[in-house]
């Protein structure tokens, strides 16, 4: 099992290492992340979104749907903590058990 894990790890690592050379150079103006929608954001962000800050424009306006679910994830995380740790729930649960015994 150990030998198998080592072989798989070696293969995965070498695949990653081989692919590093295909990544675009940092700062290359013709690379995929710098050529698709980024120029539009930089040029029209202020008149499109009314925000002088491009980051806020992208986060809240162009990518608003993404941020909605980000917020929902945060809400669900808090709700889960409350559901798991809440004292009230435990009391209610224990009371129900006692009622079943009666």
């Amino acid at each position: 099992m150990r030998v198998l894990a080592t072989i798989i790890l070696f293969i995965v690592t070498s695949v990653f290492c081989l692919n590093v050379t295909d990544l675009p150079v940092i700062g290359d103006p013709d690379s995929a992340p710098n050529s698709h929608v980024t120029p539009h954001y930089i040029e029209f962000s202020e008149e499109d979104t009314g925000s002088p800050n491009i980051v806020t424009g992208v986060l809240a306006d162009y990518r608003g749907f993404d941020t909605l679910w980000e917020t929902t994830v945060m809400f669900i995380a808090g709700l889960t903590a409350v559901i798991i740790l809440s004292k009230n729930r435990e009391e209610r649960f224990l009371k129900k058990k006692k009622g079943d015994k009666k």
Binding site: T49, T56, D61, F65, T67, T71, G78, L79, A81, V82
Partner: protein, 151 residues
């Protein structure tokens, strides 16, 4: 200045740092669309203010406090405000979260309607994000403290 909260360190923290943290949180929220920052950071700052007050005062803190139950409800309300902004624009004929279709704008961007509407939309969704983040932090703290009291 009468010392009410134990030592002078706690006194200064409660009287000065807590209100300033809360005010700074509101500033980060309102300034969010102009400078780096926004809903998430503002929510964390407001929550820090409330948590600090609670750490100093404990259970008898009545000034800067949100109870655990209302924190859960308000976190949901925050998420709902965000979704509501999307639904309002949908009902007025636009796409989901297409702020150009909002019924009113706060402020004016040199008389241009489109950027003003979008800035208003950003302000509303960041209100939702701020509420959600702040109340989530507070309600996690609340249930953890509650649990420590039991054992």
């Amino acid at each position: 200045m009468k010392k009410k909260y134990g030592s002078s360190v706690l006194d200064i923290s409660f009287r000065i740092i807590t209100p300033f943290t809360l005010i700074y949180g509101v500033y980060v929220y309102l300034n969010g669309e102009i400078s780096p920052g926004g809903g998430f950071q503002a929510g964390a700052l407001l929550a820090v203010g409330v948590v600090l007050a609670r750490l100093i005062m404990g259970a008898e803190n009545k000034i800067y406090n949100v109870s655990g139950r209302s924190a859960v409800i308000l976190a949901g309300v925050g998420t709902f405000i965000y979704a509501l902004t999307g639904w309002v624009t949908m009902l007025r004929g636009g796409k989901f979260l297409d702020y150009g279709f909002l019924p009113f704008a706060i402020g004016s961007h040199g008389g241009h309607m489109w950027p003003a509407l979008h800035a208003t939309g950003i302000l509303f969704i960041e209100l939702g994000v701020t509420l959600c983040v702040m109340m989530t932090i507070i309600d996690i703290l609340d249930v953890v403290v509650e649990r420590t009291d039991i054992e």
